[in-house]
């Protein structure tokens, strides 16, 4: 073994093999690094990546007007808009933005409402305590409840101002008559949403407000036991429309549950359907009404003949 070639010795101890492995690994690593660097150049522009392109199908190259249109048309959240609008319609002096703000408030209310639902039981035993818990123990619970309530009030205000604007601009006129009617239904639903929510804290304020409100239902003609022709139709406090609304003859546990279900599921569902129709019809009726060019009184007769 003494004549052993140093090379062999090295081979035997595996020294040479080791050097070869390290070198090879180094080579591989170097080439991998080069490749990674090469490929990373492609990621420098995130908009060129496969992930980006799969999410946003349109190039955001602003100078191309076609891209600007596609940005709207190929986005599910934005496609309610037309690609282009009347240049004067972006002046918020005309619309006051009230319809859009109302919709935004509906979204805010849905969001805060869902969060509130995590902490609230619609049961007479714990409902009030849940509110106390929310205000004192839940992180940001008070802020959440405040925001839900004030957004609800604000939504009533913006709905009214939206209607007011539509009247002042005559936007309910042909061909938008039907959409105005849908809007009136949405107003009623907004008020009902707010009203059903009023009972849920189960405090004196909500209890008596709902008592006063539902007492009127007692007097509904032909549907309430105290209304005209109610007694003749055999209505009592136990089978009239108020009983149906409250699930009982007094505002109690069933009324709380019913208000909760109407508030969180029933009315929002119906309102969403009407909203879908409302927005759809805006587009189908020719988009936003104005600001349109003024018509003159002297041209009015011509218009009537055209009919």
């Amino acid at each position: 073994m003494a004549e052993n070639d140093p090379k062999e010795t090295k081979q035997l101890t595996g020294e040479k093999t080791n050097v070869g492995l390290v070198e090879r690994a180094k080579d591989t690593a170097m080439s991998l690094k080069d490749r990674a660097l090469e490929e990373a150049k492609d990621y420098k522009d995130p908009q060129q990546t496969q992930v980006w392109k799969s999410i946003f199908r349109v190039s955001h190259e602003r100078s191309d007007p076609r891209n600007r249109s596609l940005a709207i048309l190929s986005n599910v959240f934005l496609h309610l808009h037309p690609a282009k609008i009347n240049r004067d319609a972006v002046r918020y002096q005309y619309t006051w933005g009230m319809g859009g703000i109302t919709f935004y408030l509906f979204i805010v209310l849905t969001f805060t409402g869902v969060l509130l639902m995590f902490y609230y039981h619609p049961s007479k035993v714990v409902a009030f305590r849940d509110i106390l818990l929310m205000e004192h123990d839940v992180p940001f619970g008070k802020l959440l409840r405040n925001m839900h309530r004030w957004a609800a009030h604000l939504m009533v205000i913006t709905t009214w101002l939206h209607m007011f604007r539509v009247v002042l601009t005559g936007s309910y006129k042909k061909p938008r008559e039907f959409n105005w009617c849908v809007g009136v239904v949405l107003l009623v639903l907004t008020l009902l949403l707010s009203f059903t929510g009023y009972l849920l804290p189960d405090d004196q304020l909500g209890f008596w407000a709902v008592t006063v409100g539902t007492n009127m239902a007692r007097a509904t003609p032909m549907l309430g036991n105290e209304g005209p022709f109610g007694a003749q139709l055999g209505l009592t406090p136990y089978n009239d429309v108020r009983f149906g609304l409250l699930g009982g003859s007094i505002v109690d546990a069933n009324a709380l549950l019913r208000a909760y279900i109407w508030h969180c599921i029933g009315i929002p569902l119906v309102a969403s359907i009407f909203m879908a129709v409302h927005f759809w019809r805006i587009r189908k009726d020719g988009g936003i009404s104005g600001p349109a060019p003024v018509m003159l009184e002297s041209e009015m007769k011509v218009l009537k003949k055209k009919k």
């Binding site: 009347n86 933005g97 405040n146 009247v167 601009t169 105005w180 008020l191 009127m216 009404s289 009184e297």
Partner: protein
């Protein structure tokens, strides 16, 4: 020279603005002088759930002003174009500026989307500030044995609750709201005026705008009364009066037929229910006829100027002569449109204030008493 300056419309409008400001200040000073209980006012105004209606007292006038401002600009343009046929043919017909090189349309991305985004951010900021500074009310746990006094509906329903004073519950709570909602829905179908579609104008839609404005104002007014004036026992307390729980009001609250029964020969109205019913039917029928004539007269009037109030001659001229443009609009209206409008206008826009007036000033409860219903 000063006479000439005063004649110019700008100077007049400036003078009117000053007069308006002085009148408002004097009224405010009188109100402040008459207040007996500032603490009571603060209690009502600062109640968290009343904040929205306090905000409405500022928001409604502001947006009314914003609308009228644009209506005036358009009305001026309309007058100019009516006077100049050649200009009418070439003009772009908007009060907004426009130049030939400008595109008529803009891309929604980004010109509209950015405004929507900004609006959402602003509303969110407002909501955060509002929610951080003001807590949602939470009273004692619900207790059916302890009646709240006054026990009030949420502010947006206080108009309905206030109506309970003037009408029986089935009218105030069921019939009136239904009529108002149906009335709102038929509004586009009875307004036969093709002008003013998509732009602010008062000149071309004087009657329609005023009718809606009147209804909106009345609604806000009822809510205002319900919020600020009705205290314990739903008793009328002027702003500034203390809400005294022990106040007793001696309302006579008679029915109309009881007052009339005092006239010799009409004593039958006191005892006979058929007579009462016929009397009431005649009164209500007469009200609808007079109301119909009133609206028919009103819808043909031209522009009312404040100075008519101090000049009887000018007022009579305004009241007698109908406006040719309004006549033309009326001729455009079908019988069905006309009758539908009259029904809703008399039943809501006229009946509501008349009943309010009868009840508050003359303490008359019902005008039509029958065994089945009272109005």
């Amino acid at each position: 020279m000063s006479a000439i300056v005063e004649q110019s419309p700008q100077a007049t409008s400036r003078r009117n603005r000053w007069i308006g400001l002085v009148v408002v200040l004097v009224l405010l000073a009188l109100f402040a002088y008459s207040v007996q209980d500032w603490h009571q006012i603060w209690t009502i105004v600062s109640a968290p759930d009343n904040v929205p209606i306090v905000a409405m007292l500022f928001l409604v006038p502001f947006f009314t002003w914003l609308g009228i401002k644009q209506a005036r600009a358009n009305d001026k343009l309309i007058v100019d174009l009516e006077g100049d046929k050649d200009l009418a043919k070439t003009h772009h017909r908007k009060a907004e500026p426009w130049r030939p090189g400008w595109a008529k349309e803009l891309h929604v991305w980004p010109y509209l989307v950015r405004i929507e985004f900004l609006a959402a951010v602003i509303v969110t900021v407002i909501l955060y500030v509002w929610s951080i500074t003001l807590n949602a009310p939470l009273e004692e746990p619900a207790n059916p044995n302890l009646t709240m006094n006054p026990s009030k509906a949420p502010w947006y329903f206080l108009g309905l609750q206030e109506m309970l004073v003037y009408f029986d519950p089935w009218i105030a709570g069921v019939v009136m709201p239904s009529i108002i909602m149906i009335g709102l829905m038929v509004f586009p179908y009875v307004d036969s005026n093709p002008l003013g579609n998509g732009y602010y104008t008062i000149r071309q839609r004087r009657f329609a705008v005023n009718m809606f404005g009147w209804g909106f104002l009345m609604w806000i007014l009822l809510i205002f009364i319900g919020t600020f004036i009705r205290g314990p026992g739903w008793i009328w307390f002027w702003p500034g009066e203390t809400w005294d729980h022990n106040t007793v009001v001696f309302d006579r609250n008679r029915d109309l037929h009881e007052i009339v029964a005092g006239i010799p020969g009409l004593g039958l109205l006191q005892t006979n229910w058929v007579a009462k019913m016929i009397f009431g039917a005649i009164i209500v029928g007469g009200f609808y006829i007079i109301g119909g004539i009133f609206f028919h007269w009103l819808m043909k009037r031209g522009k009312f100027r404040p100075r008519y109030l101090i000049s009887p001659r000018e007022f009579l001229a305004w009241a007698r002569n109908s406006d040719p443009f309004e006549e033309k609009l009326l001729a455009n209206t079908s019988m069905l449109q006309y009758m539908t409008f009259q029904f809703f206008a008399i039943s809501v826009l006229l009946a509501m204030p008349v009943k309010l007036f009868l009840r508050l000033v003359f303490t008359i409860k019902y005008v039509w008493v029958t065994p089945w219903f009272n109005i």
